[in-house]
Subunit: 414 residues, 2 copies
Amino acid sequence: MNAEIIAIGSELLTPFRQDTNSLYLTEKLNQLGVEVIFKTIVGDSREHLTGAASLALLRTDIVIFIGGLGPTEDDLTREAVADALQLELRRDPEIVASLERRFAARRYKMTANNSKQADVIAGATVLANANGSAPGQWLTGKYEDKEKIIILLPGPPHELAALFEEQCIDRLRAKLPAQSIATRVLKIAMIAESQCDARIAPIYKRYPDVQTTILAGAGEIQVHLQTRGASLEVAQKRVDQLVEELEEELDEFVYSDNGDSLEQIVSYYLQMRNSTVAAAESCTGGLLAERLTSISGSSRYFLGGAVVYSNEVKTKFAGVPAELIEKHGAVSREVAMALAEGIRERCGATFGIGITGVAGPTGGSVEKPVGLVFHALAGERGTEVVQRNFPGDRQRVRWFATTQALDMVRRKLM
Amino acid sequence: MNAEIIAIGSELLTPFRQDTNSLYLTEKLNQLGVEVIFKTIVGDSREHLTGAASLALLRTDIVIFIGGLGPTEDDLTREAVADALQLELRRDPEIVASLERRFAARRYKMTANNSKQADVIAGATVLANANGSAPGQWLTGKYEDKEKIIILLPGPPHELAALFEEQCIDRLRAKLPAQSIATRVLKIAMIAESQCDARIAPIYKRYPDVQTTILAGAGEIQVHLQTRGASLEVAQKRVDQLVEELEEELDEFVYSDNGDSLEQIVSYYLQMRNSTVAAAESCTGGLLAERLTSISGSSRYFLGGAVVYSNEVKTKFAGVPAELIEKHGAVSREVAMALAEGIRERCGATFGIGITGVAGPTGGSVEKPVGLVFHALAGERGTEVVQRNFPGDRQRVRWFATTQALDMVRRKLM
């Protein structure tokens, strides 16, 4: 079966806002074995929406409408879908009563316009919304002689997700051919996309039944795998088998096979090893500390950091000798090592990280071009340094460099 | 005139990728006075794409196709649009020659599939693509007796933008009724959305001819204004007049009326006043330093920062007395002040910023709940502190807190 998602709201047709609910719904639908073949974004116009609904009903099996279920004049999804289906809207007294109770509980008097949220398309099942006032609707039936499933969902993401998970997934599964979908995701750090693909393509090509999607970011590659089977066991076994082969090939480049972020993995390792970390950053300007502390509970292992932009501060906070900076330049292997060792000692941490480089767009030279970064990791048994030349703009270079540093900690503790 | 944007590519129908080109195009089209009334996302299927094209031609004046112009079998936009228009594709020998030159310059031999990029819909104008191999196409004509404009653009954002700006905007303007659009954006910091709207709604409602869009983020509100007029002068004067009234009402809450970011504004002020800044952050974990140093050239005014997660590091890097922390707790007005004053002194900066708070989700208490943050700004003439209770998750609290701190610097230098 296939589906169309229709996101409704004039704000989604401005330069400022974008539908994101469809990404969530697509993931859930794919897991059920349903492919999304169209997405339509339409404004708060009854005519446009009715047209979009009619067309979607002609071209797809499942049509999901997002938004336009509120109490205002602009909320026209119920009316438009009823028009498209040539069905009546009936005001449901139970929903009216529940809306009135909802308002009374907040000591508000319900205004008349709210009642329209109780209008139900003839034959539809009401999907109660625990997190908001507008209920959803579920409807099945024939359109132009073909079986269709029609779902109306509220626009706020947390309302939509709760309602879809609790009230739509089982209903959909009952309508779909018996099959099971298994998914896995591998996350891989600090390997070029082309190099990664060259290594794994010969493997995943031997699994044509597993859908393989490769996404590349700055310093990170994600491999999403999905397959169908007669049972979940069969499907899971198949995708696990591919994961095993890929992990064997990529070995230590793989940092996660269960969806965890690199920050989270580093967090686990540091806690497992009773280790702590401190960082002295120049060109990354605090981004490494920010990523390390983005994990709740990071105070257990992150002791502190210094953002050492000026040379004086490099000396003051990380004890880098002024002569060393003068001799080798602030962007150098030696200064990266001194930053890592200095911050480790001053914070009394198991590991110290030092980063210095040229984030750009200015400050580069022939000898030390934009994108050149030195990363040092100091531990009890010495200091290692990795030199890299990252491509891209300031933001991308900074992201690459912090990913490299996090990956060095991961590899050290692996 | 109105428009539909059709974004093409099966990857745009996965949970992982989203069309973003349409946001850029919508902004440009709105500036020309064209409203986008539909967006459609369709996969690499000739049948689906032809259907979507036919429908768009029926319901809108301008149809813009994004993507699907490359050399692979999946690139079917040219074929599908020609099908929908019932026009032929003709291979343009000039484009073939130019593709061959492009490959030769890179010392590659052009493979045969690349030639399909030279297929031009009968009657279309070729839009040369300086940044990629696939040219765009521009076509006008009647469809079901109505004048239509059809534009095919390549998917990579930088190719699309260059091609649209250089080769489509003037062509579109020539086809559109003579009118001029003026836009402005006001950016406002650290005021609640409801409070902001209560103050400005009475003003902008007196300008029904100006389209007002209010967007709220964590600590920041943007007011986008747009109006049309017989000439650019007339339109600009009208929107400028509203901006003046809004700025008078919101006064020092407005930090920018030309699109500049808060980080950029703080950068200008610091440079104008020959001032420098240093930061000692606890709960924001380096995000403030990261935002300050996201601006190229920030080394001129940002001396350094300390991420002081543990109490020992608060003492070591910012000289906060251990007794002070013990007496008032790490999250306190007193410790925020000591952080700001300590980091100012140690870095020799004009201003020192200290932030301490509870970012959550753990670590909160009845007395010091999640979201409580103290922000201190130390200068030559003393230290000021702002206490806030921010709503939202860890990420949102951290963003709020750093926006508050940046705004304190801005107000001090204003």
